[in-house]
């Protein structure tokens, strides 16, 4: 029981420490920005978007837009996919994967595919 309390307590302390540290970083960043121009910093989010449904394979992405609802729209070129990438779109199909995705795809902020059309 005492051990559990200890573990719980240290987790709580860790969370508090993390929160304090994060706000400190934000303050520093704000201070630096006041002193002069500072480029924003970016880091990849490898979980966006989620894999496409329907065994769809995406071609070259040639256009990208974020709309007023913060949905992410892309247009890609299905015609550049080769016979291995679009194996199940061949006549007859040569494999289980993949089908060629429709050219216009709309994603929500979590990377879920909402709508698709085009062609």
């Amino acid at each position: 029981m005492k051990r559990n309390l200890l573990i719980g307590g240290s987790f709580l302390a860790l969370l508090v420490a993390l929160a304090i540290a994060q706000s400190a970083v934000q303050r520093v960043a704000a201070a630096q920005a006041q002193n002069g121009v500072m480029a924003p910093r970016f880091e990849v989010d490898p979980t966006f978007p989620k894999p496409l449904p329907n065994g769809w394979y995406q071609g070259q992405t040639i256009g990208l837009w974020v709309d007023a609802q913060d949905h992410v729209w892309i247009v890609h070129r299905p015609d550049v996919l080769d016979a291995a990438e679009g194996a199940s779109s061949q006549t007859p199909p040569t494999g289980e994967c993949c089908n060629i995705a429709p050219p216009i795809l709309e994603f929500d902020q979590a990377g879920n595919l909402l709508r698709h059309w085009g062609g």
Binding site: V25, D45, T47
Partner: protein
Amino acid sequence: MPLPRRVVCCWVLVLSGVLAVQYDAATQGSNAGPRYQVDPWWPRPFTNQSWVLGSVTGVTVDAQNHIWVIHRGGDSLETNEKGMMLTPPSATLCCQAAPSVLEFDQKGVLVSNWGGPGQGYAWPQSPGSLAVDAKGNVWITAAGLEAPPTTPARGRGDAVVGEAPAAAPGRGRGGPPPGPPDAHVLKFSRDGKFLLQIGAPGKMDGPDSQTTLNRPSAVAFDAAANEVFVADTGNRRIVVFDADKGLYKRHWFAYGEKAAGAAPTAYAPNDPPAKSFRDVTCIDIARDGLVYVCDRSSNRIQVFRKDGTFVKEGIVSKNTLGATVTGQFGVVSSHGSAWDLAFSSDAQQRYVLVANGHDKKVHILQRDTLAPVGTFGSGGRYPGQFLAVGSIAVDAQGNVYAGEQHHGKRVQKFVTR
């Protein structure tokens, strides 16, 4: 601000862990066996940010649990991927091929790199797989440029002979390099010192030769007997040599036959199984001594004893056919469902993982019956997805590493869950 930045990193890791679990649901296939999810943070980006991977033809894990990768380098890179390698260069910052042989630690940090032509040996035109033996030596096959699409036997390396690439030919310019065709196996120390070559480029004396090979794809080891087993693709056989001197021991063909059969016609799902190998592209020896071999475009695994006695075969994905694809760096083949295999890390090695390059997923088979129990991965360019997944390895903890050929050109890690 060293401390706060590290703290922010912790937050990012915690959040990404949560996201990864959600994300994974979409890439996980049907599965009754072990379950895997991609670790999108492995490997770390190269310190030299101008380095890129070409078509990855081999991945293996050594006794130190380090991950070794071999790739085709500049010959498989498109012009806009290798601006720094062109004459004159068309780019100053990005990119150029990373060295051919790369060693990563468990964290995905590159810890050593080497490879390329040197004194006393012929570097492959197009490498096949690599493997590290019990003494820590690194073996590389010269799998070569593939036979033309009309010829059934294809190698581990993904290029096709006799097809001019769109770019001007010549090493580093996108075309197959000139010179006699690959027909050998190379052995190096783990720091890249040349030790042994079996066979020689352009010297191919046929399927019963005791000294020559023909576009070998893969090797495996029997440490106790000090033997190296070679998947000799172009000769449609398995051949065994002494691992120190490269002296011939024995060889056999599909079903353990002692005589080379005729080359099979192209695979058709409803034909009876071919009596010869079409393209034997992998070989691995399980702890119980059974030898597992991929016959790539025959969509099958064959199992032998170390003496060549045939034990059984299993079909991986019966209806998979294939495609031949023309890209900027030449012609590549995508045929068959059994490109490479690896065993699960449990003591009994209950499962066999098979990289199915054409269908862009990994099959999980029960090792004793070769019955399918699940798959993971799907076709696509995002983490956890595949194009031409052609090499696979498992580390001591059971994590899986998968390399992609063609323009997949990457290695991904999957952790058990």
